[in-house]
């Protein structure tokens, strides 16, 4: 049986060998003739080709096709005019060479890169060098000897690989000192792979939804529906052009423009729930601002999952619901939402969430708006204005509109009829009212924002406002 199979194999080889060695692709003089030179020991490649520089291309393809092993076979390609006898040592190599020609461009580029990576692995450097003369193009191998044409050719090849995705483009000087730049090349190639992987992952996501909501869908149900902090931190120190490929930048909400105002040294970009501070000189992202609110900004739909995040009672008088605007509160920010479209109109930060001392008071706060119980204490003078914004009453310089102090802190507060919020289990009535309003089995008393409220201990409902503690 074994003999039979062996005989059949020999017969098949005899039939197919002439066909394989016959010229292909009529009209071209670029047929590959390969001849092995077993006596040379397998560490040099030599290609001889008649008919111009196309032989060089063949040599490159042959190099690319020989990607399989560490120790490369010695090949010598000879092409003689006039139908010289050709010996093909390896039909498999011929097939691989043709396959390489049929491969997509980017794949071939990878092979070229692999071939160039060999020196890093300690293999002999194979550089095709085409010499023209006597109708022969000769591709010889030089080990670590780059003449100017070699260097330029390598430059073109590497830049073909590195030039994409805004990766650094090598210069002639870089390639000339290729041995010293091995590490740099390695890092650049790793970054290239990283970029490609990232792009592939990004493409796998629902980009339309990302564009609509500003956040990847997988994170949309989380409290902050945006890029995970670990991924965001990786963007620190990178050029804005690179960050722009990964982050959908959006317009900054009007109210936040006062908080993150551009300076001569820096400017800000917002995307995926983060504020990126960019150094004007270097164009590198120098700082990553904290996430704000839910990670959504003006122009994006307010997520339906958070529609029950109503405004705290203490803020409601200052953000009254109208036919044209609703307000929601989350993670230190007040969201103004268009009731018809469901889109966020504006985002208002609270004290400690990017707003406060040293910031400019928005023009929309030109009207005195301090809560009634605090008005006897904080009223406008020629020296200072006082304005209320969620969480605090601010002292404002009337000439510069800068916040010069936080006059008073206000908690979200209580309203009659609401359940006692978490955090008010401890008695907190001011000194002067403790003899009148103290906890009993029937009534509790709690202080919030200048008022004292009575609470039913059984139902935990706020049942009455019993005293204004500031007047």
């Amino acid at each position: 049986m074994t003999r039979f199979l062996l005989a059949a194999g020999v017969a098949a080889l005899a039939i197919t060998a002439p066909a394989a060695s016959a010229p292909h692709g009529g009209g071209h003089d670029q047929h590959k003739r390969a001849k092995t030179q077993g006596d040379k020991g397998g560490h040099s490649a030599r290609a001889q080709q008649k008919g111009g520089h196309s032989g060089n291309q063949h040599a490159q393809r042959a190099q690319a096709s020989g990607r399989g092993g560490g120790a490369q076979h010695t090949q010598r390609a000879q092409q003689h005019g006039g139908g010289k006898q050709v010996k093909q040592a390896s039909r498999g190599h011929e097939q691989k060479s043709r396959q390489a020609q049929a491969r997509p461009k980017h794949e071939r580029t990878q092979h070229v890169r692999q071939a160039q990576a060999r020196p890093q692995n300690g293999h002999a450097v194979r550089t095709a060098d085409a010499h023209r003369g006597n109708n022969d193009v000769r591709i010889a191998v030089k080990d670590r000897k780059h003449d100017r044409r070699d260097v330029q050719r390598e430059l073109v090849r590497r830049n073909e690989a590195f030039g994409r995705n805004n990766s650094p483009v090598l210069t002639l000087q870089d390639v000339r000192h290729g041995d010293r730049d091995v590490e740099r090349v390695r890092v650049a190639e790793r970054n290239l792979r990283w970029n490609r992987d990232w792009d592939r992952d990004w493409d796998n996501r629902d980009f339309r939804r990302v564009a609509a909501y500003g956040c990847p869908p997988g994170l949309a149900r989380k409290p902050v529906a945006c890029m995970p902090p670990g991924q965001a931190r990786e963007l620190l120190g990178r050029p804005l052009s690179v960050v722009r490929e990964r982050v959908v930048f959006r317009e900054l909400p009007n109210r936040l423009r006062y908080v993150y105002a551009d300076t001569p040294d820096y400017y800000y970009r917002y995307g995926n729930g983060y504020m990126y501070r960019v150094n004007r000189e270097s164009q590198l992202v120098s700082a990553l601002m904290p996430l704000f609110g839910l990670g959504y900004t003006a122009g994006q739909p307010f997520p339906a999952a958070y529609s029950n995040y109503y405004l705290p009672a203490a803020y409601q008088p200052f953000y009254p619901t109208t036919p044209y605007s609703n307000y929601r509160y989350a993670n230190g920010y007040v969201y103004q939402v268009d009731p018809y479209t469901g889109l966020i109109s504006d985002v208002d930060p609270l004290l400690g969430y990017g707003y406060g001392y040293g910031q400019m008071m928005p023009m929309s706060y030109s009207v005195y708006n301090v809560p009634y119980q605090y008005r006897p204490l904080y009223y406008d003078t020629s020296d200072y204005y006082y304005r209320y914004a969620p969480g605090a009453i601010y002292q404002v310089d009337p000439t510069t509109s800068l916040i010069t102090a936080v006059a008073a802190l206000l908690s979200p507060g209580l309203t009659v009829g609401q359940p006692l919020p978490m955090g008010y289990s401890a008695y907190n009535v001011p000194y002067g009212y403790r003899t009148s309003y103290y906890d009993t089995p029937d009534s509790w008393y709690r202080y919030a924002n200048g008022n004292i409220y009575r609470v039913d201990p059984t139902t935990q409902l706020v049942t009455a406002l019993v005293a204004a503690a500031l007047t």
């Binding site: 704000f292 230190g332 406060g356 001392y357 969480g391 008695y427 919030a448």
Partner: protein, 198 residues
């Protein structure tokens, strides 16, 4: 008519009584001057060590005016050693304007609405079966427990601080000294703070 007159009068009396019980914004405050006098004339802002790290941090973010204002507040003041031992770039460089937001969040995590004395916290812990949740002016909450005879405060990220000196009374509130800086949870770490807004 005569029969219905007493009925009407009694109904009116009940209504008046109910109004006075429920109170309103116009209710005359029943203040005790003795308790106020006991608290002294100095505000929290004036009584704190002006060179202390807590006050310096408060000054850097404009909260010194708050501590000198009407209040009333309960302020948890970490020691200078606690500030030195605390981690985080913002705490170590509180004077840097770029750290204002973070410092404000940290300091407002140490300011509670109203006057909460140590006994009040202890009572709330007892009523709460071993723990009491305290609201802060920053919108987050702290958890108070008892550790032996002392009150232990735990922040949202699990850091703990012990009340070392309690009930320092002032005209606009009370100060409790603690031995560690409490850091609020990062925005977006959970929906807790947002839930409070409901």
């Amino acid at each position: 008519m005569l029969k219905s007159l007493p009925l009407c009068l009694s109904a009116a009396a009940i209504a008046l009584g109910a109004c006075s019980q429920s109170g309103s914004n116009n209710t005359a405050p029943a203040q005790s001057s003795e308790a106020k006098d006991a608290a002294g004339d100095k505000t929290i802002g004036a009584s704190l060590d002006q060179n202390g790290k807590f006050f310096q941090a408060a000054k850097a973010v404009g909260l010194d005016a708050t501590l000198a204002g009407a209040g009333p507040y309960t302020v948890l003041v970490p020691s200078d050693q606690a500030f030195s031992a605390a981690e985080g770039d913002a705490i170590k460089d509180s004077a840097n304007p770029q750290n204002r937001a973070e410092i404000t969040r940290i300091l407002t995590y140490h300011i509670l609405p109203g006057v909460i004395l140590a006994d009040d916290i202890g009572t709330a812990i007892d009523n709460g079966k071993g723990k009491a949740v305290l609201a802060t002016m920053g919108g987050e909450t702290l958890t108070a427990t008892k550790d032996g005879g002392k009150i232990l405060l735990t922040s949202g990220d699990g850091a703990k601080a012990t009340v070392t000196q309690a009930d320092e009374k002032h005209s606009n509130g009370v100060v409790h000294h603690i031995d560690a800086v409490l850091v609020p949870p990062k925005p977006g770490d959970g929906a807790g703070s947002a839930q409070q807004g409901k």
